[in-house]
Symmetry: C2
Subunit: 180 residues, 2 copies
């Protein structure tokens, strides 16, 4: 579903102009895509959030993945009058949780949600900044399903196509505002 | 300025009903104020964000403090058509930063912003979930000032009055939607 939505060409142009490349971060040979100039531009930030929300007027909740994912998922929830659910790193949530581990380049990491974060039958949209290998998105999707809720899809600002993250998200609509 | 804004009594009631106490978290004897039930309720979340934004229509940027602060500060920025600036833990931002340390119960911690996060003369609102000892808020205020920007004030969801955080924020308007 890449490219769906209104004004997508304009948004992609806006994102290209406001996302900056930071060479050799976090390690030599990696070019980091820094979205902070986009976030800092009020009208560009608002246009981005509004575009991410397109097509999801019926969702009950938006899930955001710690920490950068919160920055986009929370305003998308607000724009949709939906609830916001933080998907957090292990040990950060105070009540009972479900946990889901995923593979990193070396080792694993774990994400958690409260067991009462989603009710059975609720429609949930996952919003994140970047779709890279798809590990965090797939773990989040699994946590939503474990609560008995229904996934409406995943929306990301930026998809790193060469990492083939979509392959980890079968049967789930994935929309990226910009693909590189 | 506690108590300013429209519908404050209603909002305080809403917050009381949607913030739950988690005893003995993160350690025995501490009662943690868990805001996730409030966030998960779409209309309550939207009303909270709208109330936090009241009186700040002229700000250029909203600063949010990692990680829970992002969840409220980003939608407040969206509601105000303002830019959003993440104030992050040390080592998380990819470009050049200013750093500011603050005291913890044992030792210190450090917050950072990009050196180009705020331009001289810009008006900045700091938004966070909880005002406790005031350490992170005071460090954030100092980072905003170091960029040459002007502080419009601080808005928090919840103020823990007995920790006297306001004492660390002289000459700065602090507004809390709920004080306990």
């Amino acid at each position: 579903m890449s490219g769906a939505g209104t004004g997508t060409a304009d948004i992609a142009e806006l994102l290209r102009a406001r996302i900056r490349d930071i060479p050799d971060y976090p390690q030599p040979g990696i070019v980091f895509k820094d979205i902070t100039p986009l976030l800092a531009d009020g009208p560009a930030f608002a246009a981005t959030v509004a575009e991410m929300a397109v097509g999801h007027a019926d969702v009950d909740k938006v899930a955001g993945i710690e920490a950068r994912g919160f920055i986009l998922a929370a305003p998308v929830a607000y724009a949709l009058n939906a609830g916001f659910v933080p998907v957090r790193k292990q040990g950060k949530l105070p009540a009972a949780t479900y946990a889901q581990s995923y593979a990193l380049e070396y080792g694993t990491a774990t994400l958690e949600v409260h067991t009462d974060a989603f009710a059975p039958g609720e429609r949930v949209l996952i919003v994140d900044d970047v779709l890279a290998t798809g590990g965090t998105a797939a773990a989040t999707a699994e946590l939503v399903r474990r609560c008995g809720a229904t996934l409406d899809g995943i929306v990301v600002l930026l998809e790193l196509d060469f990492l083939q993250g979509r392959a980890k998200l079968p049967e789930l609509p994935v929309r990226a505002l910009l693909t590189v």
